[in-house]
């Protein structure tokens, strides 16, 4: 038996007096109970939004993307803004499950499962935008490189837009595999507690016949570790490649070398904000305060203040370079189109600054980091700010290009652009409501794994170690 010890200075990850069975009970209970009225209300609202989105897309496909207010100058508007926004949100799950696993951050166990699910749904939403932006969506398969009768006309492997196709689809596939392979043992737990034949059958199919054999666990651990190792550079690469969509162009405001780290930090920033939004709700609705503790919330708020500040530094660096480069196009974009409050889109720049740079600084205070109301409110603010960021980058760089005669009239979206965006919210929350109802929102097996080192009542017993000294403790507990 390994002697496990964790310092008393670390907050417990699981509160209350729990044993393994209690952990199972607490986490599986919501799956076995009937959904509450609140669940139905939320679910139907989500489905309604989704249907509105479907209708918006129907109009887009039937009449063409002239249904949107995009024009010759602003060729990317809300659609690509929303694409980058959703992809950014989709970074937190894999960051939590992969990077924090490699860094041995124990607190990830409470939040990783729901965050990974959120990642997958967010990437599904993100993928909609480039696909429907194609206009003639029935030609979408042209992005696939396969020997064809059109030449063969191959795709351009030197284009960042094609890199994006590979990056997003790889990211989606790997995240899905990572998430589901982690879910298998937990679904087996649900199966073995099932009280109806149908439940047993369905969860039996979903859990792939998992038994919990030691050899299987050994392989499972190896698989998780390697997938984490693969996902870590993957998650960084995906938003790097998304930033290449902009950075490899010659548009002022996009053509900058800081884009990859700046985008990655922004992605983590907005992703954690979305995780916070969902966690604050989940822990309350499912009564999981013992597993998603204030300590977890605080840890994520620390990540938010860190990445928010990195993003802030990036904004200031851009402004500085806009002046220091003495490039008049850069200067015009950064100092007029963006930073000048009374320029046509100045409001969006200062909205972004207020939401992303100024307001998260509140998390330097411990009291604020541990305040649920502040956390929830800030998580919404941050995601609004990160939406503004993408809007600022895309629209303020485009609406006045090199040719003043094509400077566009003020770009604002049509109802169908907004409807499409609302529809992705519908898709996201429909999926998330179903996930929360039918699957364990917390990784049951992983909580059990950390229970005896980081559970509140077990940690209490370790006090003796600090008094007795390691050798005496080991002697007393040796088997």
């Amino acid at each position: 038996m390994h002697l496990k010890y964790e310092s008393q200075l670390r907050e417990p990850l699981v509160n209350g007096d729990k044993n393994y069975h209690q952990v199972t009970e607490d986490i599986i209970r919501p799956i076995e109970a009937k959904p509450s009225r609140l669940w139905y209300v939320g679910f139907y609202i989500a489905v309604a939004l989704l249907l509105f989105g479907v209708y918006s897309i129907y109009r887009d496909v039937t009449y063409g993307i002239g249904q949107w207010n995009l024009n010759k100058t602003v060729g990317w508007g809300w659609d690509i803004t929303n694409f980058v926004w959703w992809v950014g949100i989709g970074h937190a799950g894999t960051l939590i499950s992969a990077i924090l696993l490699l860094f041995r951050q124990g607190w990830r166990t409470g939040v990783n499962r729901a965050a990974e699910a959120m990642t997958i749904f967010a990437v599904m939403c993100a993928g909609q935008f480039p696909i429907w932006h194609m206009g003639r969506v029935w030609m979408a398969f042209f992005v696939l490189p396969y020997p064809n009768t059109r030449g063969p006309l191959w795709v351009n492997f030197n284009s960042p837009l094609l890199w994006d196709v590979f990056a997003i689809s790889t990211y989606f596939t790997v995240s899905l595999l990572f998430w589901y392979s982690g879910l298998i043992p937990d679904l087996a737990t649900v199966r073995d507690r099932a009280f109806t034949k149908l439940r047993k059958r369905l969860y039996g199919i979903a859990s792939f016949g998992w038994t919990g054999s030691t050899k299987h666990w050994q392989r499972h651990e190896s698989l998780s570790l390697v997938l984490a190792g693969l996902s870590t550079p993957l998650v960084l690469s995906v938003h790097t490649i998304v930033s290449f969509d902009f950075a490899t162009s010659v548009i002022p405001g996009w053509h900058t070398t800081i884009f990859p780290p700046y985008f990655v930090a922004g992605a983590i920033f907005s992703g954690f904000a979305m995780v916070q939004t969902l966690m604050v709700i989940i822990r309350k609705v499912f009564q999981m305060e013992d597993y998603i503790t204030i300590g977890h919330i605080e840890a994520m708020n620390k990540v938010i203040v860190l990445t928010g500040s990195i993003v802030g530094i990036a904004y200031l660096t851009e402004l500085f370079m806009g002046w220091y480069s003495q490039n008049k196009y850069e200067g015009y974009t950064f100092w007029y189109s963006r930073a000048y409050l009374f320029s046509p889109y100045g409001w969006s720049y200062w909205g972004m600054m207020a939401c992303n740079v100024l307001s998260p600084q509140i998390f330097w205070f411990r009291k604020m980091r541990r305040n649920l109301f502040v956390t929830f409110f800030m998580s919404i603010i941050v995601n609004i700010g990160m939406w503004f960021e993408r809007f600022v980058i895309i629209v303020t760089s485009l609406y006045r290009d090199y040719l003043p005669s094509s400077w566009s009239v003020y770009y604002s979206p049509t109802i169908w652009e907004i409807g499409f965006y609302a529809g992705t919210f519908g898709l996201f929350f429909t999926c998330f409501f179903l996930f929360a109802k039918y699957m364990p929102v917390i990784a049951v097996a992983e909580i059990k794994y950390v229970l005896k080192t980081s559970g509140e009542n077990y940690k209490g017993k370790m006090d003796q170690l600090e008094e007795k000294g390691v050798e005496q403790f080991a002697h007393d507990h040796a088997h």
């Binding site: 492997f157 890199w163 790997v174 737990t189 030691t214 666990w217 392989r219 651990e221 390697v226 550079p233």
Partner: protein, 196 residues
């Protein structure tokens, strides 16, 4: 298919399980498997299982992804249909790094998961014998295979004396899904087989 007899002992604490595993093995019994609700670190070593080679497989899949990406892109853009992108070289290796990387990760991840499912025989409609329903909840279930020499009652008593809170004899059909044993190192081969 042939049926086999197993003696099942359930433990509710891994701290009791470990010494029991050691005792059972030194007494010469062959532990078929131990089913646990979570990954108990060190249990694989205690059971004498060898390390998994799954990560090596992942490496090989990854390399094949790299080769696939580099091979196909260079053939497509430099050989099959060289296009002139603003006079840039046809063999534009730096521009291919992103896709090469993505395919490396993709091949490795997909290959590893499929291999994992194959090795553990996990698939949607696979039916397996579950020795104890609480093995996925809070029980550590040790399963010992009986030979002709084994006295099941003695073995049950032996398990109980080592901390098993429930003991049981079960018959399970032998099949490939029970898994092959890893090569047992037989560290205690010459010990007696009689149980105290």
């Amino acid at each position: 298919m042939a049926k086999k007899k197993f003696v099942v002992g359930c433990f509710d604490d891994e701290a009791v399980l470990f010494p029991a595993v050691k005792k059972v093995r030194t007494s010469g019994y062959k532990i078929h498997d131990v089913y646990t609700p979570f990954a108990v670190h060190g249990l694989d070593h205690a059971l004498g299982l060898r390390e998994t080679s799954l990560h090596t497989a992942g490496f090989i899949y990854g390399i094949s992804g790299t080769a696939t990406a580099l091979g196909s892109i260079s053939w497509i853009l430099a050989k099959d249909w060289p296009l002139n992108f603003g006079g840039k070289p046809h063999f534009a290796l730096p521009a291919w790094i992103p896709i090469t990387f993505e395919l490396t990760v993709l091949f490795s991840a997909v290959g590893m998961v499929l291999t994992f499912c194959y090795l553990c025989q996990l698939a949607p409609f696979v039916k397996k014998h579950h020795f104890h329903a609480r093995a996925t909840d809070d029980m550590f279930v040790m399963v010992i295979e009986c030979t002709e020499k084994t006295n099941a009652d003695d073995l049950k008593a032996f398990l109980a004396s080592n901390g098993a809170i429930e003991t049981d004899v079960q018959v399970a059909e032998e099949g490939w899904w029970l898994g092959r044993y890893d090569r047992d190192e037989h560290p205690f081969q010459n010990k007696q087989t009689v149980v105290a």
